[in-house]
Symmetry: C2
Subunit: 73 residues, 2 copies
């Protein structure tokens, strides 16, 4: 994993967590909405997973945000 990969995952992870907390959703609730395991959502938010585009788009859908909210460079 290259260094710029980590930068990407950091920003994606942080923005997901920020938007989730803004909506007062628990990891468990959001994971359930997106149909992924709680463990895996936790890994995403802690920058330990590189999720597929389908999962990211579903997360955005559940949070009612667009993709640019998660990465806007």
């Amino acid at each position: 994993m290259a260094m710029d990969d980590k930068l990407i995952l950091e920003e994606v992870a942080d923005n997901i967590r920020i938007e989730r907390l803004r909506r007062r959703l628990s990891q468990e609730k959001l994971a359930e909405m997106v149909d992924i395991s709680t463990k895996y959502l936790n890994m995403i938010e802690n920058r330990k997973a590189n999720p597929t585009i389908v999962i990211v788009i579903k997360i955005c859908g559940a949070l009612d945000i667009d993709l640019n909210t998660i990465w806007s460079k």
Copy 2:
């Protein structure tokens, strides 16, 4: 793979191909810019792969488009 997953991949795939052709880049050239195999880029454009967010963001970077260009629902 659920049906709405396929809908997502279809739109993502089509938009990547459209933007690549608009810039007159070959699959080989774009794959090289993004540092993925030509075969895999071909699979993405033909809706046979579900790439990670890091790869999608790198593709957007190479095409100089934002994420919403690829998925805007």
